[in-house]
């Protein structure tokens, strides 16, 4: 019986992540797996030319990578997967650069042309999108999402379940708290507290992140 690798989430990020996974299998960087989407809200058997099933029908002890861009949902799905006996698995594009001194957790996605520099730490279930730059000694905590072309200065910290929007720039040594959202193109010079939405250049706190939803 062939090994199975599930991608949880059959939206845009799911499509991208499946593409990275299949490319890595083609490049023989990852052993051959049957690649299947999990999506609990779809009424079809196939999407993006891939089989799609619900979590209930998954085979225990298989690998899973969570591919939704909502940090809160990432956490919930990770819990459900663990309860179901699935193992969070990391997918790293061969077209990314990752320093040998980087620590990567389980269930991480590293998209093409992302770079993660010396001594950075990427915790479990983090998504790092295309062309994101993660500076030296950065820490990205569980379930956070780093969008495409984000630039994290050296030794900056992104808290658990936070979302950094496309092309945002975070100054070195700056802390973005837990469950916060940094808007697209923001330039962050100062620390951002927990559970807020920050926008603009220079970035300012706009609202409390009560909804805990990035995409509405």
């Amino acid at each position: 019986m062939s090994l199975i690798w599930y991608i949880y989430g059959a939206g845009g990020l799911g499509n991208e992540t499946m593409d990275i996974l299949k490319t890595e299998i083609e490049l023989k960087k990852i052993n051959n797996h049957q690649c299947i989407f999990i999506d609990d809200n779809l009424d079809k058997e196939e999407i993006f030319n891939n089989k799609v099933i619900s979590l209930d029908n998954c085979v225990e002890n298989s690998k899973v990578t969570i591919a939704t861009g909502e940090p809160e949902v990432r956490e919930k799905l990770a819990t459900k997967c663990k309860e179901k006996g699935l193992k969070l698995a990391t997918i790293v594009s061969s077209y990314s650069f990752i320093s040998k001194s980087v620590t990567l957790g389980d269930g991480v996605i590293v998209a093409p042309f992302a770079s993660i520099q010396a001594d950075a730490t990427v915790s479990s279930n983090v998504a790092i999108n295309t062309q994101a730059i993660i500076g030296h000694n950065c820490s990205i905590l569980d379930h956070a999402v780093i969008s495409s072309q984000v630039n994290l200065g050296g030794a900056s910290i992104v808290g658990s379940k936070s979302y950094i929007g496309m092309a945002a720039i975070i100054r070195e040594k700056v802390l973005v708290g837990n469950s916060s959202i940094v808007g697209m193109g923001s330039v962050v010079y100062k620390d951002i507290p927990d559970e807020v939405i920050a926008l603009g250049n220079p970035s300012r706190v706009s609202r409390r992140n009560n909804d805990k939803r990035v995409f509405k």
Partner: protein, 79 residues
């Protein structure tokens, strides 16, 4: 132009709404335009018009058309 006229004009221009929509029902996320991005546009417009620098907590708590009037009193702006 009175401070009230300036205040109203900012809301109408930022959110592209009519004068009769400036009422107790006008609050954050009550209309599509008053989302987190619209909120910062509103804050920037108020700061420029009244030559003030709003504190983070005041920006966060600026929740409705009417409570905003109270917030600006802290900056010696009487609407």
């Amino acid at each position: 132009m009175s401070n009230k006229d300036k205040y109203d004009k900012i809301f109408m221009e930022v959110f592209e709404i009519a004068h009769n929509q400036l009422n107790k029902d006008l609050k954050y996320q009550s209309i599509e335009a008053w989302d987190s991005v619209g909120h910062m546009t509103l804050m920037a417009a108020l700061e420029e018009e009244f030559d003030i620098q709003l504190e983070m907590d005041d920006i966060i708590d600026f929740g409705t058309y009417y409570t905003g009037i109270e917030t600006l009193k802290k900056y010696s702006i009487d609407i």
